[in-house]
């Protein structure tokens, strides 16, 4: 056979592909399951063990080695190529994700483990044993090096996990098809069938590669295009922090909470209108939600503030700035300020169960109402509980999701606030990483829209001229003409609006 050097090129590609699949599986699992040390360690262990199993199994293959080699090559292309998209999809839909993941790692490992021994046996008549072993193994390890360099430097940043997976599947399939020519004399039967299989597979992988964008929107790596620097699941939610070119982003259950690039826009609009509307000297401030400490950072800009009570469900969230220096820097250590008291409780239950000295200002910054447990934090009942904790002249701002993307949801919250007997000034701003975002400024007495933020507060976004524009609603975000339901505990109308409206963007 003249093509022996070409077969050696095959070895490099096979080795590269194998390692890529292994890295993909480990990366996907540490993305979605967290704890990268465990995930990498388990995946590598299972993969290497499976390769051993594959090598051992190769001893049972006797006849027609060349066509078996091509078959195996195509099988690796199929399973390995679709591994990342499949893992992302299964993670979103099944509870036994870990079983699927480790089975897949095992199968790919075993198939890759079969390849090299088979190839060596095919080549055994062409070369001396010592040359064969030295070249095949050397090239195998070179392929591994290539994979481990390419993966973090080029593949993940440029292609993403899904495309990387599909690309190497195609490469694998190509090697298989090419093999049908290289090994043509050795393939005894079904040559055409093998080639047809190979081409069909190549086309399928190619289509998936082109359509990878729509695949990625289904899968989680679309949510986390950047490098993950923190990922942990608490009792209540999955917290992921990523770092990209524009800065850090925080995700709760996959939903973006802020990006450090433009969060100041969001938090300035969340906090300062309340202080502008309040006529007295702001001393006691209540924050509901907002465990990242960014709203508190804004609040502490007012020297008259004596105490900030922050109620957030999740201790992992309120402790996040301790665990993540970048967040500590971003919130200027606000969570450690001596004026700040952190309480980990469900705000609904906490408001219901506690008698407190009334607050001057309240900032309500919950995640969007995408489930019933959150939906209750936007009900007339909740706002009545909140009202009972406020001074008669207190001011509050409530984050109310997007009046552009979820117009009915936004106005349902406004209507609900009004139904709870509050006077409401709806306002909105643009936060590039979210889009257009909506809030409500409320007081218990009728009040005039404030004209400007308080004197002497250092702000990056809101200015004398831009302040008034917050309260201006372009026509595509005004109150819809259809009747909008009030959100109550016994109807949870908002969760249903929200689900309908945001589903359009999924």
């Amino acid at each position: 056979m003249k093509q022996v050097p070409l077969l050696f090129l095959n070895v490099v590609i096979i080795a590269t592909c194998g390692l890529i699949y292994e890295l993909l599986a480990a990366t996907v699992s540490s993305y979605v399951l967290g704890d990268s040390v465990t995930q990498f360690s388990l995946v590598i262990g299972i993969y290497l063990f499976a390769m051993g199993v594959g090598s051992w199994l190769s001893g049972f293959l006797e006849k027609d080695l060349a066509s078996k080699f091509v078959e195996i090559e195509l099988a690796v292309a199929l399973i390995g190529g679709f591994s990342a998209p499949l893992l992302f999809l299964t993670f979103a839909n099944v509870s036994y994700f870990a079983v699927i993941l480790y089975s897949m790692v095992f199968v790919i490992g075993a198939l890759v483990g079969l390849e090299i021994p088979l190839l060596m046996r095919i080549l055994k008549d062409e070369l001396d044993f010592k040359d064969l072993v030295s070249r095949v193994l050397a090239l195998d390890y070179i392929g591994a090096l290539a994979a481990s360099l390419l993966f973090p430097i080029f593949l993940v940043p440029k292609l993403g996990l899904n495309r990387t997976s599909l690309l190497f599947g195609m490469l694998n399939a190509a090697v298989g098809i090419w093999g049908t020519w290289l090994l043509e004399p050795l393939i005894k039967k079904n040559l055409t069938v093998l080639r047809v299989k190979g081409f069909v597979l190549l086309v399928l992988l190619g289509i998936a590669f082109i359509k990878a964008d729509s695949l990625t929107t289904m899968a989680e790596d679309a949510l986390f295009p950047d490098q993950i620097v923190y990922a942990k699941s608490s009792q209540y939610q999955r917290i992921v922090v990523t770092r990209g070119k524009l800065g850090h982003s925080l995700f709760l259950n996959g939903n973006l909470q802020f990006n450090s690039f433009d969060e100041y826009r969001y938090h300035e609009a969340l906090v300062h209108p309340a202080f502008a509307a309040y006529q007295g000297t702001p001393k006691r401030v209540l924050v509901l939600g907002g465990g990242d400490g960014l709203a508190v950072r804004e609040i502490l800009k007012y020297p008259s503030v004596e105490s900030v009570t922050l109620v957030d469900l999740d201790p992992l969230m309120t402790g996040l700035s301790e665990a993540l220096p970048a967040l500590m820097e971003l919130n200027k250590g606000s969570m450690k300020d001596s004026r700040v008291e952190v309480i980990n409780a469900d705000a609904f239950v906490w408001l219901d169960n506690n008698e407190l000295e009334p607050f001057d200002i309240a900032i309500v910054d919950f995640p969007d109402p995408n489930n019933f447990a959150l939906g209750k934090l936007y009900t007339t009942r909740f706002y009545n509980l909140l009202k009972a904790k406020l001074r008669p002249d207190a001011a509050a701002v409530i984050q109310c999701t997007s009046p552009l993307y979820a117009r009915n949801s936004y106005w349902s919250i406004i209507k609900t606030l009004e139904a709870a007997g509050l006077n409401v000034k709806p306002f909105q701003t643009t936060v590039p990483s979210f889009g257009v975002w909506g809030y409500a400024l409320v007081m218990q007495q009728p009040f005039e829209t404030p004209q400007n933020v308080r004197e002497g507060i250092d702000l990056n976004y809101i200015s004398q001229t831009s302040f008034a524009s917050l309260f201006d609603f372009p026509s595509d975000m005004t109150l819809p003409s259809d009747e909008i339901e009030i959100n109550r505990l016994d109807n949870q109308a908002l969760v249903r609006y929200y689900e309908t409206e945001w589903r359009r963007f999924e």
Binding site: D346, D352, A373, R381, L489, Q492
Partner: protein, 532 residues
């Protein structure tokens, strides 16, 4: 004779689940707990034919004695107190008042041992609305006069979900996977109920309304009591499996009976009596973590100094001028000379207690059949994790399609506590066997706890890990059985009349066990004895 675990689980939950559960073995962690409540020993003293002598110094004089402190008895006492009649005594067999509406104290919230909600009454039910006003559950009236209940007392959404083939779905009627024919039959069924919602007799009375005493007695309505609900559905050509399940669930839930044991009148009453207009929503539910225990506490407060607990009333003797009552607390006997008595205990017990009742029986008390239940309260240290991210989340009422139980109610739901420890109340009506009651009292605590955990484990495989404690209450006589012919039969009508100076007041007298019915009879008896 003891049953093996497999026999036990087969009896309660059916063979497939029993087989599966036994294959898994019993290596699971098992929670603590015990049987609570029901003073069966003292209750059954009545059957022993013992004689009880009351020492002269233990006789007291009281204007009105009320025997039984369930909702009917407490309502009567509450009403009499409101009328300024203070010379009364309430005698209760158990150590706690409340009957089947009693509740338990726990953390993070209290929990029910029986009845756990009240549909918002129509405004025409003025006396019940008055109670709600007094309890400050209301915040005014709507333009059309309907009572507005404060948001925090109306059952919070999501109200119900159903577990079917491994997943939870929203609502009580199973829509997932229904066929065209199922859809057609369900809408056909709704047309029938709409018909009865809109139906009025010559006097303008509704066919079904709460309290049931105001329902029409037109022959067309009365005829419904002659057949079972199952028979009625078959006559209408309704055979959809999930529709039959839904109706069967309704019967088990409200009456503790199966579809073919329940009168069609009672079945339709369930679906029609709380809907004002056809096509309209059924009245929303008022609920509390402790269920109807909240009502019990309010009613009992007015007579707390006049209530004697752990007192078995052993004889009621009609006299020339009134009634003599003897009760026994296990050690001492007490006697009361009263002008009148309100008998607010299950009606079937009357012959055991009222002297001379059997000799000239005014009605056949034995035809007041009741059914038995067990109720388990599970203390959970945390909620089970959803098995699928898109599963419908934990609701107030959580029902298992394939289970003969009624599923469970989550006590923390109404307080908005959505994380961490909770208490679930699991209901199991013993309607699947003819001698359910006898059997119920032969089982040990661990056996019934095993039934409950095995049943729930089909939806929550981690339930053994999460459950720290299960307490179980066995209700020997939980609810009157509205079997065909009972509601519009003669016996019930006769029992509404006083016997000598004894006035009966119990939900049994309506033939259906409901808070509103007990309340109605309590008020009625109170008015009768006070002559107002």
């Amino acid at each position: 004779m003891r049953l093996t675990r497999r026999e036990l689980l087969t009896t309660f939950l059916g063979a497939p689940l029993a087989l599966a559960a036994c294959r898994e073995g019993g290596s699971n962690r098992f929670p603590d707990g015990e049987f609570v409540g029901q003073n069966v020993g003292l209750g059954h003293i009545l059957r022993e034919d013992r004689s009880f002598e009351v020492p002269a110094e233990n006789w007291r004089q009281v204007k009105i004695a009320i025997v039984g402190s369930g909702v009917a008895g407490l309502t009567a006492a509450w009403k009499l107190s409101k009328q300024g009649i203070e010379d009364i005594v309430v005698l209760e067999l158990e150590k706690d008042v409340g009957g089947t509406s009693k509740s338990g104290e726990g953390k993070p919230v209290n929990y029910p041992w029986g009845a756990h909600y009240l549909p918002v009454p129509f405004h025409e039910n003025t006396e019940l609305v008055e109670l709600l006003d007094e309890m400050q559950l209301t915040e005014g009236r709507s333009a059309d006069g309907n009572v507005i209940i404060k948001e925090e007392f109306l059952c919070r959404q999501p109200e119900e979900r159903i577990f079917y083939k491994g997943r939870w779905y929203e609502g009580l009627y199973l829509h997932a996977g229904e066929s065209e024919e199922d859809i057609r039959q369900f809408s056909e069924f709704q047309k029938h109920t709409d018909h009865w919602v809109n139906w009025r007799d010559g006097k303008g009375r509704r066919a079904f309304v709460v309290p049931s005493a105001l329902c029409s007695d037109d022959a067309e309505v009365v005829a419904l009591d002659k057949i079972s609900f199952g028979e009625w559905l078959r006559q209408k050509g309704l055979t959809s499996e999930r529709l039959l399940w839904y109706c069967d669930y309704a019967c088990r839930d409200d009456y503790g009976l199966k579809l073919d044991q329940t009168s069609a009148w009672a079945g339709l009453f369930y679906f029609c009596s709380r809907v004002r207009k056809s096509g309209g929503e059924s009245q929303p539910f008022i609920t509390f973590p402790e269920g109807n225990g909240r009502f019990v506490a309010h009613l009992a407060e007015s007579v707390k100094d006049k209530t004697l607990r752990s007192q078995a009333v052993v004889s009621i003797v009609p006299t020339e001028s009134g009634v003599d009552i003897v009760c026994f607390d296990g050690a001492e006997t007490l006697g009361f000379h009263c002008e009148k008595a309100i008998y607010a205990s299950p009606i079937f017990t009357a012959p055991y207690v009222i002297r001379g009742f059997n000799e000239a029986a005014p009605f056949d008390a034995r035809s007041f059949h009741s059914n038995s239940w067990f109720v388990a309260n599970l203390q959970l240290k945390d909620r089970p994790k959803p098995r699928f991210s898109r599963d419908f989340p934990l609701a107030w009422d959580n029902v298992l399609y394939d289970s003969p139980s009624l599923g469970y109610v989550n006590a923390t739901h109404q307080k908005g506590i959505d994380h961490g420890p909770s208490i679930w109340t699991y209901y199991y009506p013993m309607c699947h066997e003819p001698d359910g009651r006898t059997k119920l009292f032969n089982y040990e605590w661990r056996e019934l706890a095993d039934v409950c955990l095995t049943d729930l484990a089909r939806a929550h495989p981690d339930i053994h890990e999460l459950c720290d404690r299960i307490d179980i209450m066995r209700w020997g006589h939980a609810m009157i059985s509205p079997t065909p012919g009972f509601i519009h039969g003669e016996t019930r009508a006769k029992a509404l009349k006083p016997y000598s100076n004894i006035h009966f007041a119990h939900t049994d007298l309506s033939g259906i066990a409901l808070f509103e019915e007990a309340f109605y009879h309590g008020l009625r008896a109170a008015k009768e004895v006070s002559g107002s």
